[in-house]
Amino acid sequence: MSKTTSETSPQDTPQGAAISDFGIDTTSQSTGEAARDYVARLRGGELGSLPALLGVIVLLIVFSSLADTFLTLGNIANLLAQGASVVIIAMGLVFVLLLGEIDLSAGTASGVCASVMALHLVKGGNLLGGMGDTVFYLFCGILVLAAVFAAMMRIWAGTALSLVALGIALFGVPANAWVEMLLAVCVGAAIGSITGFLVARVGIPSFVVTLALFLAWGGVILQFIGQGGTLGLNDDTLFNVANGNLSTAGSWALFVLATGGYAAVVLGRHFSRLRRGLVASPTPMVLAKVGAVVLLAAVATYALTLNRSQSSVVVITGVPFVVPIVLVLLVIGTFVLERTRYGRHVYAVGGNKEAARRAGINVAQIRMSVFVIASTLAAIGAIVYSSKVGSVDPNAGGGNTLLMAVGAAVIGGTSLFGGKGKLRDAVIGGAVLAIIQNGMGLLKQPAAVVFIVTGLVLLLAASVDALSRRRAATTVR
């Protein structure tokens, strides 16, 4: 035994001394080293959301030089409200894309949530009267089914939300803006439970399940609203979700809360890592990052608290409500993905399903849960766009809503192959799409051109993803 060890001691290996050791591995780097590391990673194909960020900057420069009205405060605020719903739906899709799955039904599912919400509001809480007997009992049956499916896979949140939706429907809870929003979110969770169960437990490929449901939900919306009908949302609270603004004081309070929280979390984590001798980025780099975010947020908050009204009669100031809505969702979602066991498992299943299974992760449960999250977020997106439009029609969530959301996630840097992507990708990608649509509109381009350009940008983003993957596969190892 001792013979073998002396023979195989590391000193005998030719390259033994040349290689650095885990025991002395680098935990802190100088700024220069970190920058070189970053460049090396970029060259290795780990682009992240860099191309999309550059895209946002280029588009901002191009449109502000071409269209005088582009960089006005009114238009910027409008841009935020326009892009918010797609961004929210895209955030949900990031979870699904992280597993390398797809949810084609997220758009029409959000439409179903919007139409149930509008129907409940318009009929004063009487869904039975609004839907008719047969449809209502079918609707309740589907909610029960969703609750059972979620319970079978031990996704209790899905069960609970489905049952809340069932309760609101059966007890005829009176119409109220907050009840409507809760109902929409609960119906979204129920829809996600059904999609997820079919994919994860029954084992149908997600493409087929969600394609079928995409068609089916489109029909459901039509059934709920009626051919050619429109349900108006005559409610101040619902209208304000996408059209209202925070007060000036509220805007600055949001600024303090958001940037203060961000700085506290980032710096607190950084210095605790340094203290414990763990791998950490160089301090100047962290400080620069935090400083840049605070500065940018301060400028944006200041600009949005100025009066941006076109007429002298009304005064429009303050940060639009959609900003805190998107921020809250972004923070919660990022926390879940980066800091919780669940998020880690989502990445693991997306990276290597078999490895995750062997590590004792319940792969089916994870796969189902991402569809529940996607549909729930799609429901929140539905609330925002219904509020923006002020009504729900049979085309709600149809057309290219879903494709825009997938496009936003992919343009932002989420990989279609699974395992790679962050929630902020959806926000950055959504910004790219919103800027293109808004800017082209201001330039009075016909819809044909807008669609073609949007399509080409998406194609470009998908190529960047595929090429960077190929690069990552060839440069290392």
């Binding site: 290996t13 885990f22 800091r339 066991r341 990445y347």
Partner: protein, 257 residues
């Protein structure tokens, strides 16, 4: 010789009509490397998967530390302290070394992660195994070489204070220097008092690190011998014919009488 930490008694396993394992008896001793050899299709990987709880066994007993245990899934095996390092490396490319080492058993309260704790524990483990070659424990596994990945996979198994580590062809895809590193690591595991099972096709590797050799032949245990009692040639005969001189399965005609 020490008491075996893991004993298999009369294990049978069929996949439909194919009887893959016939009455397998197999012992793993702490502080020793037991090599499991056999030709392709002899049932080595199936045996490992049965021990790991990936496949249920049809019949037979598993004794751990002398007590009978029932392994119904990977979790049961892990709870006993049995860890498997698979041939196709159960690592997630998109996660870093620390994240992979703690996959499925993350530390932290209320579903949250305690990254600092995990990073320190991972570094301690890697240092205790004198693992070289990786610059940072926060390196993504995708950018590691084959040997480095194998090292991470083995270190992952050790992190859990495991008692038995099963290695499925850990050196199959590696170059000379990397094979050396992994074999060193295997030896070090045994010196730390773990029961190590090494599946390998490479006789040089087997003779270099193994204390005992168990040879499977067409789903039967042909022989369990001490490495120092046999020669290279005898083991090759056991693998290809199931017998070598007095060792191995009796000739079919004598067995039927």
């Amino acid at each position: 010789m020490s008491e075996p930490i893991l004993e298999l008694r009369g294990i049978n396993k069929s996949f439909g009509p194919v009887h893959v394992l016939h009455d397998i008896d197999f012992d793993v001793h702490p502080g020793q490397v037991t090599a499991l050899v056999g030709d392709n299709g002899a049932g080595k990987s199936t045996l490992v998967k049965c021990i790991a709880g990936i496949h249920p066994t049809d019949s037979g007993q598993v004794l751990f530390n002398g007590d009978e245990v029932h392994i119904h899934g990977p979790r049961d095996a892990a709870n006993l302290g049995i860890e498997v390092v698979y041939q196709d490396l159960a690592l997630c490319d998109n996660l870093d070394i620390v994240q992979n080492m703690f996959l499925g058993r993350e530390r932290g309260k209320l579903g949250m992660l305690n990254e600092a704790d995990m990073e320190q524990a991972a570094r301690t483990t890697l240092t205790s195994l004198s693992v070289r070659t990786v610059k940072s424990v926060r390196t993504q596994v995708a950018s590691l070489s084959g040997g480095q990945r194998q090292t991470v996979a083995i270190a992952k198994a050790v992190l859990w204070n495991s008692k038995v580590v099963l290695l499925d062809e850990p050196t199959a895809a590696l170059g000379v220097a990397q094979t050396r590193q992994v074999l060193d690591l295997v030896r070090r595991l045994a010196e730390q008092g773990l029961g190590v099972v090494l599946i390998s096709h490479n006789m040089n590797d087997v003779f270099e690190v193994a204390d005992r050799i168990a040879c499977l032949y067409l789903g039967r245990m042909a022989a369990e011998v001490n490495t120092k009692d046999v020669t290279h040639g005898q083991v090759v005969e056991l693998i290809t014919a199931g017998r070598s001189g007095d060792l191995g399965i009796a000739r079919p005609e004598t067995a039927t009488i």
